[in-house]
């Protein structure tokens, strides 16, 4: 089975997932992003690469933040950006997902940035579109959020440079997290020797260890001597019910406080994909503290998305 992200020549055609991304493609995205970080510091924060191209942001699941970062990235590449928030209710009126895609393709879309609640939605679209269209997965169900995984990897590389000696701990709701899956794959591809997940059993998928991680249920053990702590967002609807008794209890066991962070290496960095639940997964003193690199993540995220779009959009 051919890697659905690559064309016959082995070039990147779509970005659907970090898993299965050849290392050289991953590194190239990070290197290119580094150049774009420079662009965003100039007077004119724009380059003409995607002039005349149309990027359609298709958000079947609302997310102002992610949509905005893709929009800014596309605009800084001089693309025309069209934002479509498609509620699933309008879908149930009869038009199928692929009908929607066909319609937009007929409007000469060049690139689709897709966010969808169902795992595999971006793969389905990528399989369907003509070869001159590109699909970027902006989050599909629990499966993948590759640009987030790449920007997390970029951030870690920026602060820690050498992956081959790092310990990285990912804490919280791994079960429902596409962010965690994408970051785990990126860290493994980049040769990180120690990737840990820390969560109660209820928030870990079956057989999570096969993704290439060490499993911890206890924060105090899992955080010991790590270089990077990645906190995940806990969705409101999961805070009480069969997964967890309450947000308060989750914070007590798995929330990141200054005392728990002290178990990590003194120069450890703290990351969070946002938006944060202060007092649920992270204490404000940590979120606003000197070890947090949560805002730089956002800045790097735009450069990483510019890199992905410019690599996909070039060539014929």
């Amino acid at each position: 089975m051919r890697n659905p992200q690559l064309n016959e020549k082995g070039d990147l055609q779509h970005l659907l997932n970090v898993e299965g991304l050849p290392r050289e493609h991953l590194v190239r995205i990070l290197d290119t992003a580094a150049s774009f970080v420079g662009v965003t510091e100039r007077d004119v924060k724009k380059v003409p690469l995607l002039r005349g191209k149309s990027v359609f942001n298709l958000f079947f699941e609302p997310s102002t933040r992610t949509r905005t970062t893709f929009e800014i990235a596309a605009k800084r590449l001089s693309a025309d950006v069209i934002n479509l928030n498609i509620s699933t209710s309008s879908q149930s009126k009869g038009e199928t997902l692929l009908d929607t895609i066909d319609n937009l393709a007929a409007m000469h879309a060049d690139m689709f940035v897709v966010r969808h609640a169902a795992s595999g939605a971006a793969h389905l679209i990528a399989r369907h579109v003509a070869p001159h269209h590109h699909v970027i997965n902006a989050g599909d169900g629990r499966h993948a959020h590759p640009t987030q995984g790449l920007l997390d990897a970029y951030t870690i590389r920026h602060y820690k440079s050498d992956f081959s000696r790092l310990s990285v701990a990912i804490v919280g709701d791994i079960l429902h997290s596409r962010v965690a899956r994408s970051l785990i794959h990126a860290l493994n591809i980049l040769g990180t020797p120690d990737v840990r997940v820390i969560a109660p059993q209820t928030l870990l998928p079956t057989g999570v260890a096969q993704l290439g991680v060490r499993v911890f249920h206890n924060m105090n053990e899992g955080l010991r001597d790590v270089d990077v702590v990645v906190m995940l967002r806990l969705q409101n609807e999961r805070m009480k019910g069969p997964l967890l008794p309450s947000a308060q209890e989750f914070f007590k066991c798995y929330g990141l406080t200054a005392e728990k962070l002290a178990l990590a290496k003194p120069d450890a960095i703290v990351m969070h994909p946002g938006p944060m639940n202060r007092g649920v997964e992270i204490d404000s003193s940590v979120a606003d503290g000197g070890q947090a690199v949560i805002l730089p993540q956002v800045t790097f995220g735009i450069a990483v998305r510019m890199a992905v779009m410019s690599i996909l959009g070039g060539g014929s």
Binding site: S35, V37, G38, D43, V44, G314, S316
Partner: protein, 166 residues
């Protein structure tokens, strides 16, 4: 057709001599990656230019992006000074179609508005496709159409010209 290429080090010496009278305390210099930046590094030092050297990577401004894609190994551009109102020397190794210079000027204007830009090239091989000419030229060479003329730099920093016929 056999071509005798000039010695790049000799050409460099000639170019340096031509540039000396044109440089003032206000001059700033920008080299185009990668060959232009090598030449610019030498000129910047040998001319004693006060402002730090800038480098441009024009990958984001190339007009063949939609056919060839983004070039790999994109090293960031670095312009460590304010370009507004400056008298600028823009340095490249080989002047050929003029498309690289166009891309470089487009990028420079995204940093600001220089007062003047003079183009400095080690060699001019002709075959221009755009209305662009250099103000300072080390040497003019004639090479077969379509051949690839490259500047190389060895470990000791010596520059040399190479021709690759297709």
């Amino acid at each position: 057709m056999s071509v005798t290429l000039p010695d790049a080090e000799k050409v460099y010496t000639d170019l340096l001599a031509r540039l000396k009278p044109a440089v003032t305390g206000e001059t700033v210099m920008v080299g185009i990656q990668t060959g232009g930046a090598w030449v610019a590094e030498r000129l910047h030092r040998d001319l004693g230019i006060a402002a730090p050297l800038g480098t441009l990577n024009i990958s984001f401004y190339r007009d063949d992006y939609s056919s060839s894609g983004l070039h790999s190994n994109v090293r960031p551009s670095q312009i460590p000074f304010d370009v507004n109102g400056k008298r600028m020397l823009l340095v490249d190794d080989v002047l050929y179609t003029g498309r690289t210079v166009r891309g470089a000027m487009n990028e420079l204007f995204d940093y600001g508005r220089p007062d003047t830009i003079d183009l400095v090239v080690l060699v001019d091989r002709g075959e221009r496709q755009l209305p662009i000419c250099a103000q300072f030229v080390g040497a003019t060479v004639t090479v077969p159409k379509g051949a690839k003329l490259d500047l190389r730099r060895d470990d000791s920093g010596r520059l040399s010209l190479h021709l690759e016929e297709k």
